[in-house]
Each structure stands twice: as structure tokens, then as C-alpha cells.
């Protein structure tokens, strides 16, 4: 489902030089697999997620997600890929403040070639029900708790029936109880057949994932890889 080969990504270090963040990352994630990538802050987890999700196009190497080679897509193709093939869940929820929960969930539909119709609304209600937020669909984010906001964000990510869910520190802004509820939700979604890739620095996420990878020094290694263990 996800394949990355020799991924390299550098940032300018502010002195004219380059700071490597991803230094030859190889990754294979199978269909319906739940993978967690762990690593300390600044290790390049989010960068890796953005590259895999088609948000960052400035990299070296090959990336293929859901059978789509990202390097072959132009801006419109990448937008369509993000709209239909994948869903993003961010640490800070990233909901639009003046939109209600259901309008936030409908946001991907605005970039669909078809006009927003009853089918879209029905789907939005369906995913809100799935995450347990249908009762608060008309509330704006300011009227929701952190956990509720993240549930709405997850509903938005699920709206277009994505093949892969990319999650960037999804429990980072939640207390332990709410975080556990969100982790349980990811586990349930995975059991329904969704491919889930989570990047996090929280060890508690590892309990839910089938496979744990660690990102260190710009490279990925399986948790069980003896060479990467300290």
C-alpha cells in the first residue's frame, strides 16, 4: 500500500548549508496494516508523513501510495490524490474555526469535481456517527473538547473513503483518557480494513500498532531490528 525507496530530504540550515532530515528512508506498509513510526521531536517524522501524503514534493527517492507514483503527478494530480486516496489527521486537529463539525467534515467535498449534494451530506453524517460525533455535528470547534475536535478531524479524514490514513501525533494534544479513546478508534478503523500510518513520539501508541518503526538519524528501522537498538 505504501512504498518508499531511498527517500532523502534536506532543509536549509540557515548558513547556506543543508541539514539532512531523511537520509535514505526505505519503507513498505502492506494493505490494512497499522504501523506506528516512533521518534523524538525533530527526527523528521512529520516530514516523512508529508512526503508520503503528497504535501511535500521536494525530496529525492521514490514514493508510491495506493498504487500511485507521487513523482508522476502534477499539482492537480497530487490534490486529487490527497482528496481521494488518503486522509490526514494532525496533532492540532486543524479544523476551520468558523465551520461547524459537519461543515469541517464536508471540506474535502468542496474540492470534488461534483457539487456538494445530499450524498455528500449523508456521508458526512455517516462518518460523524462512526466517530461518535453526530450529536454535535452543528457545533463549531470552539464548542468542542480536544478529544471531540480530534474525532471530527478523523471523520473529515475518513470522509472520502481513503485507502490510507496518515496521522501526525494524533494524541499529542490530548489527555491520557481522551488519547486512549482516539487510539481505540484507530484500532477499530484498522480492524475494519483501513491502512493506518501514525507518526508519534508517544510510546502508548505502540500498543495499538501492529508494527513499530523507529526513525533515527534519518533512517527507519523495525523496533525489533537488533542493529538499531541501543
Amino acid at each position: 500500500m505504501i512504498s518508499a525507496r531511498a527517500l532523502k530530504k534536506c532543509f536549509a540550515d540557515g548558513t547556506g548549508g543543508e541539514l539532512p532530515v531523511l537520509n535514505g528512508v526505505d519503507l513498505e506498509v502492506k494493505r490494512a496494516e497499522f504501523v506506528a513510526i516512533l521518534g523524538p521531536s525533530g527526527s523528521g517524522k512529520s516530514t516523512l508523513l508529508h512526503v508520503l501524503g503528497g504535501l511535500d514534493i521536494h525530496y529525492q527517492g521514490e514514493v508510491q501510495v495506493a498504487g500511485v507514483k507521487l513523482a508522476a503527478l502534477d499539482d492537480k494530480g497530487l490534490a486529487r490524490f490527497r482528496n481521494r486516496e488518503i486522509g490526514f489527521v494532525f496533532q492540532s486537529f486543524h479544523l476551520i474555526p468558523n465551520l461547524t463539525a459537519i461543515e469541517n467534515v464536508l471540506l474535502p467535498a468542496y474540492f470534488d469535481p461534483r457539487s456538494i449534494n445530499g450524498e455528500h451530506r449523508h456521508r458526512a453524517e455517516e462518518v460523524l456517527s462512526r466517530v461518535g460525533m453526530i450529536g454535535k455535528k452543528d457545533r463549531v470547534p470552539a464548542q468542542l473538547s480536544g478529544g471531540e475536535r480530534q474525532r471530527v478531524a478523523i471523520a473529515r479524514a475518513l470522509f472520502a473513503r481513503p485507502k490510507v490514513l496518515f496521522c501526525d501525533e494524533p494524541t499529542g494534544n490530548l489527555d491520557s483518557v481522551t488519547g486512549r479513546e482516539v487510539i481505540d478508534l484507530f484500532r477499530a478503523l484498522h480492524q475494519e480494513g483501513l491502512t493506518v500510518l501514525v507518526v508519534t513520539h508517544e510510546e502508548r501508541m505502540s500498543a495499538a500498532a501492529q508494527r513499530i518503526l523507529r526513525l533515527r538519524d534519518g533512517r527507519l528501522a523495525d523496533e525489533l531490528d537488533p542493529e538499531m537498538r541501543e
Binding site: H50, G53, L55, K76, L78, F88, N98
Partner: protein, 426 residues
Amino acid sequence: MTLSSMARLVSLSLRRDRPRAAFSTFGVAVGVGALVFFVALGLGVARVIREKVFPIDSALVDVVPPAISLGSLLGGGKVDQATMDRLATLPNVLHAYRKMNVRVPAVSRYEGAFFGSHLRMGLEILAVGVDRGLVEKDVQLGAFADPNPGEPIPAIASSRLLEIYNKTFAPARKLPQLSPKLVVGFTFPVEFNRSFVAATSDGQVMAERLQIVGISDRALLAGVTIPLETAIRLNRSASADAQTFTAATLVARDPSAVPKIADEVKRMGLQTDDQERRLAQNAGLAVALTTSALALLSVLICVLAAVNIAHALSASVRARAREIGIMQAVGASRSDVRLIVLGEAAAIGLSGGLVGTIGAVLAAAVVDRVSSSYLPSFPYKPDSFFSYPLEVIAGGIALGMIAALSGAYFPSRHAASMDPARTVAE
């Protein structure tokens, strides 16, 4: 992204920051409103000049003998019947009408009833005789021909003279204002070959009566227009020149042929009297220049509105960087982002253009109302000083859109070039 989706996103964005949107819209409305107001004022005043002050028939060419010419010393340069025959056969000339001044002075001494008032007056009168065809469409009473002895001479007064009488003379002398219909039929005495100020010829004073039979734009401004045969008869009776004509009026087949006819007339050793046309053009030019200066000022206001929109949208785009990143994360392309920002500007421009145009129309209505209620009456005072052709309305709205979209050009490019990976991470 469909148009309805874009409209919805634009609406959401504008509603979120209503003060910014309202301020930007206000800027566009002021510029567009000022432009529409001044252009409509210029067009309205130009219309008054064209239709009332100098109602020039664009197909007419007035021909006069040259003021000084070697030809006239040698007997040429006159407008006689032979000249008229030649003028009538010039290319593109439909009709050639003769004009002859009554070449003796005339006065009118009147004392009696005057439309419900008592009037006692004495004034010098100028009279010009013209061919019937020149004014026949304006004749409302009887035939425009030399009358039988004892009958009044049919006379046509100038519509502009009536306007000046109504707006200045009548109010000053507390006389009634007269409509063209009311004036027709009014008869007053005239003594030809008599003057209060000028020397007269040796002949006898000819006592006649003039009867107004019509009001015309083509009539002599400061005098009366009578049948040509009458003018010839009066001149002959006063032993004045009754052979040569004072002027001729040619009617062109088409206004576009007037310059060619004028050239032909000059080649014949004659001149064209385009004083009125020049006055109209000069007045029109003065109005156009004033209007242009005010319109330029208004366009500058629109430019300032565009700059304000550029600043406001740039600030908005910076403030919404994360939101734009979110939209890109869920499927917005760079062109979608750009369209949303341009859509916001278009909405501001459209509403600003509409508000400005409506405001200009309302302001014009207020000015017209104040003018009709509080401004004293004066000659050619119009019911409205403004003219609003569809092009001005559409142009105002289009200008609002252009100003707003121009202002949004760089902010929209900036928004589209944002790196979503960076903005969602911030």
C-alpha cells in the same frame, strides 16, 4: 472545485472577517461611486448643451459670403440665385435653403394684454426671411408664406429665445412664463424701416403685424424668422438689396458628408458659418475635460482601493496560512487556492461596484431634487443634470471588479505558492 463550492468557500471567508471585507468594499464603492457620479454628470451636462443650449442639426451647413474677398470686390463671393443653384447641385446636398435678412431696422411698440398681464414695451427687432422648407416642420398655424395685404406676417421664434424669456426676462418683469403652444397665435405690431437707435433709409415706415406661428431650433436666436418672400418684399419696398441672400443653409444627405460639403463650399469662394458648432464643441470639450479630470480622480480612488485590497488580502492570506494548508491537505490544488482568493476579491469588487453605482444614482437623485427645489430657475435648467446609460452602470461595476481583482493578483499568487507541508506544521 465547482463554482458553487468556490462561492461557498468565498462566502465563508468573507463572513469570517467582516470588518476587513466591509472596509475593502467601501473603498471600491467610493471609487466606483465617484466615477459613475462624475461621468453621469458630464454626460448629463453634455446632453443639455447638445439638446438645449446648442441644438445643432448635425446635417446642416450654414453658408455665408466671405467677410473679405477679392471676389466680392469684383462682384464675386455673393450668395445670389446662381450661387444657390450651384450649391443645390453639390454632391451629397439634399436641399439648399435661402436666407435673407430684412435689411432695414424694425421696432415693435406694444401696449396691451399679454397672457393675463399688461405689457408695455418697445424693442428693436431683427428679422430674417427663409425658405419655407427649412422650418415647415415647426409651423403650427397657417401657411408659412408671404401674407395677403392686411394679414399678419407669419413669424417663427427661436426655442432658445423662449427659454431665455421664461427663465430670466419673465421672472424679472413679473410676466407669465409661456409654453411653445401658448405663444403660437400671438400677434404684435412691427414697424419696418424704423429704429430707436440706428439710422433708417429714406423710404416710408412699413407698419406690419407679426403673428407667431411656431417655435423652432432653426429660427433666428435674437429675432424672428419670416417667409423669404416677405423679406424680399420688405427689402424691395425699402429700396434695399433684394437680390442677394444673406446666407444659405444646406442639408447634407448624411452628417458624415458635412466636411466634404464644407470643402466644396470653400472652393466656391464662400465660407461656412460654424460659429454655433464651434461653441457647442468648445462647451462640450470644456465639459469633457472637467469630467475627465474628475473621472481621473475617481480612478485614482479606485487604484487606492485596489492597493487597500492588496494589503488586506495579503494580511488575510498570511493570517490564514494554516487554513490554506488544511484545504490543500484535503484536496485543494494551487489553482483552487488562487481561485478562492480571487473569488473573494471578485465578491468585494462586485459588491463595491454595485453599492457605489447605486450610491451614485441615489446621490444624483438627491442633487436633482435639491436643484429643482432650491436652485433658482435659469435658462436651460434641466430636470436632471445626470445621464445614466447602461454602459456607465455596467462600466462602474466592471471597474469595481477590475480594481479588486488587480489588488488580489499578488496575494492570490502568494497564497497559491504557499508550501502546505510548512503551513500545516506551524
